[in-house]
Symmetry: C2
Subunit: 306 residues, 2 copies
Amino acid sequence: MAQPILEVRHLRTLTALRDTGSLSRAGMLLNLTQSALSHQLKALEDHFGLPLFTRKSTPLQFSPAGLRLLQLADSVLPQLASAQRDINRLAQGSSGSLRIAVECHTCFDWLMPAMDQFRERWPEVELDIVSGFHPDPVALLHQQRADMAIVSAVDEGEAVAIHPLFEFEIVALLANNHRLCAQERLQPSDFVDETLISYAVPDEMLDLVRQLLAPAGIRPARRTTELTIALLQLVASGRGIAALPLWAVHSYLQRGYISARPIADGLTGRLYATTLEGPTPRPYLADFVDIIRASCFVSLPDIRLL
Amino acid sequence: MAQPILEVRHLRTLTALRDTGSLSRAGMLLNLTQSALSHQLKALEDHFGLPLFTRKSTPLQFSPAGLRLLQLADSVLPQLASAQRDINRLAQGSSGSLRIAVECHTCFDWLMPAMDQFRERWPEVELDIVSGFHPDPVALLHQQRADMAIVSAVDEGEAVAIHPLFEFEIVALLANNHRLCAQERLQPSDFVDETLISYAVPDEMLDLVRQLLAPAGIRPARRTTELTIALLQLVASGRGIAALPLWAVHSYLQRGYISARPIADGLTGRLYATTLEGPTPRPYLADFVDIIRASCFVSLPDIRLL
DNA sequence: CTCCTTTATGAATATCGCTCATAGTAATCG
DNA sequence: CGATTACTATGAGCGATATTCATAAAGGAG
């Protein structure tokens, strides 16, 4: 009643605004432009005749009215989601399974929190990580051994649905006293006489090799390990160079444990979730993609949603 | 999350559907066409892949999924309304007053329940009925002695905002053994030798006189009283004819206390709420109009919303 | 069976939310 | 202090889609 201006979309915008701290970042989270949100909020403020938050200063400050609406959103949005899931359950009577195949080792950092959120929302869905190492996670989809594969590159023509997640910068990691630290950035040729420290995966699954070194015909020595912390220790002790996503090593860099340099004019890694495109598009799969995107965007520094 | 198909509008539709028992009546309540609701619900059902209610049979039956959504609506819509009102209060810091001037005596029947609902929602607004008899309630608006006037006709050119409420049939009321009961319907000429029993208001405020008798130059004897029940007693004891809204005497007719006949080819009364069109359109005024329309539509038989 | 009320459906319309392009505004830095 | 960068505001135009209109179909009541 009393003029039905308020819509679900407004509530979503407000929570995104709180989570991200700015209109433009909130827009990325919602897959909308900054302009859309600006218009949207202006309409609300015009309608109520008072400001919902103050734009100047990051993170922005909510006004009492804004806080009241946030409180509403925090109460309403979960109820809405919960009702939607109940209906979906009624519809396809079912539980189901979400077995996740991962190609990139660092992914566990963000996958765990996302899985926790998912478990809360879809308790009846059997949730698992397909264990062991798999050179081709997408193959697991077709073999019905996984329901979702997280990959960093997708072949055209694979008969799967692709859900882009996010992209990020991959940086070279050096010991603080490494001679290459003198350079502002590293070029492919700098890797010639170095040892490349990485996870135990085939060459072509490393973005650095696939995107830069292989095209340049450079094949540095490789040394592998399974744990991120072990990998960083090798780097710190001068055994070689590693290349990892910036977000994966952000905390180590801040503490000065090792040093980072951009590679070429910026090496960009991307991540995608892939699923079989079945006749019954199980709603919890799409939901999990949303959860990943949202939770990564707020917790991983410097990533850009795709 | 999980496809944001569900909107506030859908929840409103569902509650209206429950309150009215049919798509077409729900449409009237929401100021939408039956077609709109049909499309809207079909979209929902298509999306979820299951029916929300069964159309055959009145009143319609909700499915489990429909009931789940109704439960959601019952939880969410009040929260939404409450938040809106909180914001409005923050905006105009204020309480305010709603003094209602009434021209038509029968209006008290539905005004009281509507006022009760209003009091619950806007506890800080001072709510009153302007007491005493007022030949021109609209004048009270301009004199700042009332905030809303309920009238059955509005002069063009009055500088007030007009909020149409509903329309209804006015019927002639006769003693069960009255000679005119023999007729299927009453014509203006039938009133010539009769006594017209009514509330103590000027001729021109009675729809019967204004719309039919005065144009025909007929001025029957008048007898007045203040209470509806007293008026009906006079009719039942053969002292004359009355003309009242069908909804006002519905229960008496069902019990056979008196008889009713249509007048001419249907005498239609209409009711409007009028307010001053101020620079600050106080939101609780519009809300009260909504409350009136909704509560009357579900509680008064045979009325049509305007 | 017929009348009357209700619902369904497809096409046309109108609304309105979003994007695009661009300007304005702070804060940061050499 | 001008330059740069990041964020927000704004108006025009587009596109999606909710709604209406016109009409058919389907029950229920008498």
